[in-house]
């Protein structure tokens, strides 16, 4: 999986592409923890290029959401489609996350 990070103030954008399996989930956790340590609290995770997500990937996103909510932050997901969307529906993840159809809509924080 590739993670491309960039700041789109006030949000921090993490664009994920490829396959989010256990190894990739650990990479995501590491990057996310580092950003949290640096004080980032507003995240947009762009899943446009994500082709696959396993349970480990779901757990990483859930953990990020839980940490942000506990720390008065927020996480938004955008461009969730294909198999990843099917997994989100089956697991009920769509009800826990703020989901946006486009990147432009997701990065608009008031």
């Amino acid at each position: 999986m590739q993670i491309i990070c960039n700041k789109h103030a006030p949000a921090f954008v993490m664009a994920l592409s490829g396959r989010m399996d256990r190894i990739a989930a650990m990479e995501f956790d590491k990057a996310f923890t580092e950003l949290m340590k640096n004080g980032e609290r507003c995240f947009v995770v762009d899943l446009k290029g994500l082709e696959y997500i396993s349970s480990a990937g779901l757990r990483s996103l859930l953990s990020a959401n839980q940490q942000l909510k506990a720390g008065n932050g927020q996480i938004r997901l955008c461009n969730v489609g294909g198999l990843v969307k099917e997994v989100f529906v089956i697991s009920g993840f769509e009800s826990l996350f703020s989901m946006y159809n486009s990147y432009a809509a997701a990065v608009k924080f008031k």
Partner: protein
């Protein structure tokens, strides 16, 4: 405590020292699920739904494949034996198949879990002679602190609107499979938070597969017992 240990404690009637009768038939599947969920949380196995794409006909039957992704021991004897067994098959297999496989070892798993709990002084095991040849085991709580804390956290979690961490999601599924919420919450509260409990337990995919099998067993039992 690992998930299997927590589940075993929740399934006990601690006054009588036995597994609650309503849990008897489903406990072995639930314990099998608890082992797999612990291995998943500890990054030794992972599950995915790729066969939705590979074979759409399989979707309604079992879309969840389980694969070993980490072979290093966890340090927990029971989990490490399960991890070794999972490695005997090189291809990813349906989670449901593994749940059935480990449920068939339910008697041994129950005994091992009880012994682990006794070793950590949470449970006291008493052996009683039944007739001349048979011995039965009864299990009594020696230290209820850990279990009380879990019950209290589960109550807080389902009554509030917090997002649980992945371990807590598994615990909600386990607590639900044991009927813990019927015991913890009033009928009114339970009716009100039932949708949240269902939503939370769905978040873990192995837990979903476990719940589905347990439901099927309960359905089979109720069909068999229906008169006519």
């Amino acid at each position: 405590m690992n998930f299997a240990e927590i589940l075993f404690l929740l399934a006990l009637d601690t006054k009588q020292g036995i597994v609650r009768p309503e849990m008897e038939r489903s406990l072995d599947y639930a314990l099998a699920g608890a082992l797999l969920m612990d291995l998943a949380i500890q990054n030794r196995v992972d599950t995915d739904m790729t066969c939705i794409r590979h074979d759409p006909k399989e979707e309604s039957r079992d879309p969840l494949l389980l694969r070993v992704v980490g072979k290093s021991p966890t340090g927990d004897g029971l989990l490490d034996e399960a991890l070794k067994e999972l490695q005997y098959k090189s291809d990813p297999r349906p989670t449901r198949e593994w749940l059935t496989h480990f449920s068939e070892e339910g008697k041994m798993i129950r005994a091992r879990v009880a012994e682990q709990l006794a070793a950590s002084k949470v449970l006291e095991i008493k052996e009683e002679k039944k007739l001349i040849f048979f011995k039965t085991r009864r299990y009594f709580l020696a230290d209820s602190n850990g279990l009380d804390a879990i019950k209290s956290r589960m109550r807080e979690l389902v009554l509030g609107d917090e997002i649980p961490d992945p371990r807590e999601v598994v615990l909600v599924g386990i607590a639900n499979s044991c009927g813990l919420f019927d015991e913890l919450l009033s009928a009114e509260d339970l009716a009100r938070v039932r949708p949240r409990i269902n939503a939370l337990r769905k978040l873990d995919l192995i837990g979903q597969a476990m719940t589905q099998i347990i439901r099927e067993i309960e359905h089979t039992i109720s069909t068999e017992m229906r008169p006519g």
